[in-house]
Symmetry: C2
Amino acid sequence: MAKDLFDERGADGGGRGIGGRQKLIAAALQLASTTRSLASLGLREVTRYAGLNPNTFYRHFKNFDELGLAAIEQLGGELRRGLRERRRRPARSRKPAAKAAKTKAPDPLAMLADGEKIVAESVTLVLDFVTEHRAAYVVGIRELHGTSPAMRAALTRLLDEIAADMAEDVEFLLPLPGLTPQARLDISRVVIRQMTFFSMDYLEHPNQREAIRTQAERFVMRLFIGEIALSAPELLVEAARRGLPAPR
Amino acid sequence: MAKDLFDERGADGGGRGIGGRQKLIAAALQLASTTRSLASLGLREVTRYAGLNPNTFYRHFKNFDELGLAAIEQLGGELRRGLRERRRRPARSRKPAAKAAKTKAPDPLAMLADGEKIVAESVTLVLDFVTEHRAAYVVGIRELHGTSPAMRAALTRLLDEIAADMAEDVEFLLPLPGLTPQARLDISRVVIRQMTFFSMDYLEHPNQREAIRTQAERFVMRLFIGEIALSAPELLVEAARRGLPAPR
DNA sequence: GGACGAGGTGTACACTCGTCTACATCCGCA
DNA sequence: TGCGGATGTAGACGAGTGTACACCTCGTCC
């Protein structure tokens, strides 16, 4: 858990100093994920846990906000890149599904049946990710609603960036007819935000993971197909008239 | 803001003692909403702010969890009752809309057009409520993701109860055909949770309030109509074929 | 080769904190 | 009238905190 933070000093000259900063970030995350809020834990507490002298903290950070922002920059970037990469990796193998829709026969219901797989994959991807980075994720969610305005702003921004990424990916992973760019972005935003709840449930109730995953998938499906039904119901009618797959 | 907490000593004998408990709760909420997390503020800090002796705290609460739980019980109950009442008050004047649907002509699209009003009212109601009880609400959201397991559990429970209330109200305010009780509850849960985000945005960005309100309404509409499209598309088809109101 | 600066350490001070014990005040009730 | 309990007050103790100051130890660069 966040141990990878330590392995970045690789070949940077071997100074004894480089480790300190990362040690402090890792210690803070570790402590905050179990004990308390990031802003509320003590300077001495963290440095003690990191095996450093209290004063060393000042060498790297002016206060805890600064440490938090540094952590967000590191792990947030990793999260964002990780999600993008993993969402696009399997994309190539199912490109045909997307291309089929580019033909002049928009069939949302049929597409949605195929889209269910994509949604399921994406949901699983997020849930796996938070399971892997549990400590950092829990702290992040805490601070997203926490007391530090700087931290809140940074995390809100991160979530919005991730939502923008998702909207962009949806554009060619799930090119539903009748889905405007604005609607895509709006839906992505609520999905990303709602996933924070689903993720926490997922982490805290390991015995209900399947149910939670299903709920999340269903949630996303409702939003997308609901948008289509609201903005272009005639597409649904057409599709349904053509076969009514009645997707459970 | 939360000043009403002070006015409850009304005619209880005029003891100097009764005020203490409420003073402490109010002081804690006030401090926590601006300064820091509830669990992280000090016993002395709160009592000082409340104009009491530090030790007085012990007379009423064993620790901060206990104070938090007491506050949740008070304000949470108020919130829940307030929402129910205000959701049901205007319900009588539009009962006909609901009754029309009980006839044997299920027409979800037309109903949804009417439903839009109900959704808009409900959203407005929540947003007004959080604006009125800003301090308590902000603290509640903070602690919902905070460090105290007891507090988290209590607040999660409160949200679930509110969601259950909403599901029940939806049953006769918006009796959509093809909406199972389970789906109603699931949707209510995600709506209530998502409203925490919308509400915070609403409080923090007063100049974008109209946009946020619209987003929230649209979000709810997508979920309900999406559920119908997923579980009973033939209803949508029928309705659309009969007139295609093409809402927005 | 010597100055320099970054990372790290040690000590010390003033302050806040939670909590303990003892005392004061006021209520309701017998 | 007197008593018990609930509420609030006063003072004190030890632990922990943030941070200022002085010092050490390297690798780097002129």
